[in-house]
């Protein structure tokens, strides 16, 4: 009897370890595949040139249009989300709203975060159609903002909520108003977490393709104005992998490697920066 139970224990422990190894090895496999396939295709021309004539048949050119486009789209969306999201994250705190209202809105934001980005893309498309605007950088930025805003607000909300009440009470006792306390004490104390949230949102934004598929369009040129269509890395991968020409597929691999590097740097960067900034606050 005891032996059987011990066997069961060992068996399940083995299953668990194997499961975890499976998950981790998939991650390693993805990273390895993209690096091995992408590294030979990645060169200076790839990063610095825009597509030239015959590019999609395998001739000269690079994906600078997609790199710059993606940075603009994700950067713009992150900036807009920050401008809209920081006040929202403060509005969720109990200084500003009732517990019930905040609870419901948190729930709404969580649900919004779960809404597929293709739905935001479709909604953005509907609005742009209604306004008579064609696919453009502005449309892409606004749609991408919808995608990352809920995540950013909830992430900032969680860190702002962690600011100890005592700290705020000291500020109130010194005569500061609620708003002054929010700015001078709470914002400062929550800053490392806010920075992490913003960087992570950028990472989410730059990888999203479904939302900008309808709204940002695609172009071979570097973005000139926010009303023009704009290229992006995810869509560069998506379009180029679908062609039958090996040279063009190579560029999809290179674009994927670039995107992956950006996402990895963002992920690591947010962690490092968050920890470094956390040294300056009270624990």
């Amino acid at each position: 009897m005891n032996k059987r139970r011990q066997l069961e224990e060992r068996f399940f422990r083995l299953c668990m370890v194997l499961s975890l190894i499976l998950v981790l090895s998939v991650l390693v496999a993805i990273l390895l595949t993209v690096f091995v396939k992408g590294a030979p295709a990645l060169n200076l021309a790839m990063i610095t040139q825009t597509p030239k004539g015959g590019y999609y048949l395998g001739k000269e050119g690079g994906i600078a249009n997609a790199i710059v486009g993606s940075l603009c789209l994700a950067g713009g969306a992150t900036l807009l989300s920050l401008l809209a999201g920081l006040p929202l994250a403060f509005a969720l705190q109990r200084e500003y709203s009732k517990r019930r209202t905040a609870g419901v809105t948190r729930l709404v934001l969580d649900v919004l975060w779960g809404v597929p980005s293709i739905v935001y893309g479709a909604f953005g498309f509907v609005i742009m159609q209604y306004l008579g605007v064609r696919a453009s950088m502005l449309g892409g930025i606004l749609t991408l903002t919808l995608v990352i805003l809920p995540f950013m607000v909830r992430a900032m909300d969680e860190v702002i909520r962690m600011v100890p009440l005592e700290l705020k009470e000291i500020s109130y006792a010194a005569g500061a108003t609620v708003w002054e306390t929010s700015l001078a004490v709470v914002l400062r104390q929550a800053l490392p977490g806010i920075v992490t949230a913003v960087i992570l949102s950028f990472g989410r934004g730059i990888g999203d393709a479904a939302a900008i598929l309808f709204t940002a369009g695609y172009t071979d040129y570097l973005p000139r104005s926010v009303m023009d269509p704009v290229a992006s890395l995810p869509l560069a991968i998506f379009f180029q992998i679908a062609t039958p020409i090996p040279e063009v597929q190579q560029r999809a691999y290179a674009a994927a490697l670039l995107l992956l590097i950006i996402v990895l740097v963002v992920s690591l960067g947010s962690r490092v920066l968050g920890q470094r900034l956390a040294r300056n606050i009270l624990h």
């Binding site: 139970r5 668990m16 975890l20 729930l107 779960g114 597929p116 909604f123 509907v126 393709a209 995810p234």
Partner: protein, 310 residues
């Protein structure tokens, strides 16, 4: 001297009044901002619903959802192939992912030392952060050929772009969310419950199964539902490997065509065919409603679980 004090006094009062007015204004602005989030949510749903009204006027919802004839040129927009494609890929993905994720989460929550846990959590986050097109690319390079080989070995003629390939990629993509939420849920079970059971002479696995998993089953279910909703809405990666043939999938190795892929694939031509855009927006609306309801249910369950554990 007295006058100077008086002046200073009034200045302080003035600025105090101004400051508290500023405080009230800010509070109102923030309250309005908060309300606008909820308004926006309704607006998204209403916008998509309005766009799908034209087609709902010509055909009943039941017919649209349950007909399997997809011929846009003849104004026949049966969504059944796409609904079944979404359900098939998603359910299969969950069957593949849930056991592995649950076992991983149990290991992380119950067995792993905190050093291992702290080391693995960021790695899982990394997996969650990989863009979906990169998953799709990996699927095209690795999963699709593997499925082709497997299908051939089992006697199916398949290109590899199939239901199984889509489900595998989806399963991998939802793993991080299921693992991290499950780990959190399991760790919320109080240590006393475990210690009591251990003291009764149960092995670690028996404690896990009879005490920990049992008392956290609602939270685990919520994690699975969240993963399910995420998988149902995932677009690009699935689109790249699933084959996209508008037919109810007949086997694991047959191509499928989930709803998000339908929307993403056809935006270019939807303006040239009457009712096409309306049909696609209805697809988006259906997707939104289903995913939002699943998310809502799961979030409520998690909130309730958190309250019960406290």
């Amino acid at each position: 001297m007295g006058r100077a004090w008086g002046e200073m006094g009034t200045r302080v009062i003035h600025s105090l009044r101004a400051r508290s007015r500023q405080d009230r204004v800010v509070a109102w602005v923030l309250r309005i901002a908060l309300a606008s989030v909820n308004v926006l949510t309704v607006l998204i749903a209403v916008g998509l619903l309005l766009k799908s009204m034209p087609i709902l006027r010509t055909q009943s919802l039941g017919k649209l959802l349950l007909s399997s004839t997809w011929k846009p040129l003849q104004s026949q927009f049966g969504l059944l192939p796409f609904l079944s494609g979404t359900i098939a890929t998603t359910v299969l993905a969950m069957l593949l992912a849930v056991p592995v994720c649950l076992l991983s989460a149990v290991y992380l929550a119950e067995y792993a030392r905190s050093r291992v846990r702290n080391w693995i959590a960021p790695v899982i986050d990394l997996l969650a952060g990989i863009p979906s097109v990169v998953y799709g690319l990996w699927g095209v390079l690795v999963i699709v050929p593997a499925v082709r080989v497997l299908g051939k070995a089992l006697g199916y003629s398949t290109t590899g772009y199939s239901l199984l390939a889509g489900a595998t990629i989806l399963g991998i993509m939802v793993a991080p969310i299921i693992i991290s939420i499950c780990t959190e849920v399991l760790r919320a079970v109080p240590t006393e419950a475990r210690e009591t059971a251990l003291a009764l002479g149960l092995t670690r696995w028996e404690v896990t199964r009879h005490v920990v998993l049992c008392s956290s089953r609602r939270g685990i279910l919520a994690a699975v539902v969240l993963g399910f909703a995420r998988a149902a809405g995932e677009t690009m990666a699935v689109l790249m490997v699933v084959g996209n043939v508008p037919r109810v999938p007949s086997s694991l190795f047959a191509p499928a065509y989930p709803l998000p892929a339908l929307i993403a694939n056809n935006y270019g031509e939807m303006m040239s065919i009457p009712m096409y855009d309306s049909a696609l927006m209805m697809a988006a609306f259906v997707l939104l409603v289903v995913v939002a309801l699943f998310n809502l249910a799961a979030r409520l369950a998690l909130l309730r679980f958190a309250r019960d554990e406290q």
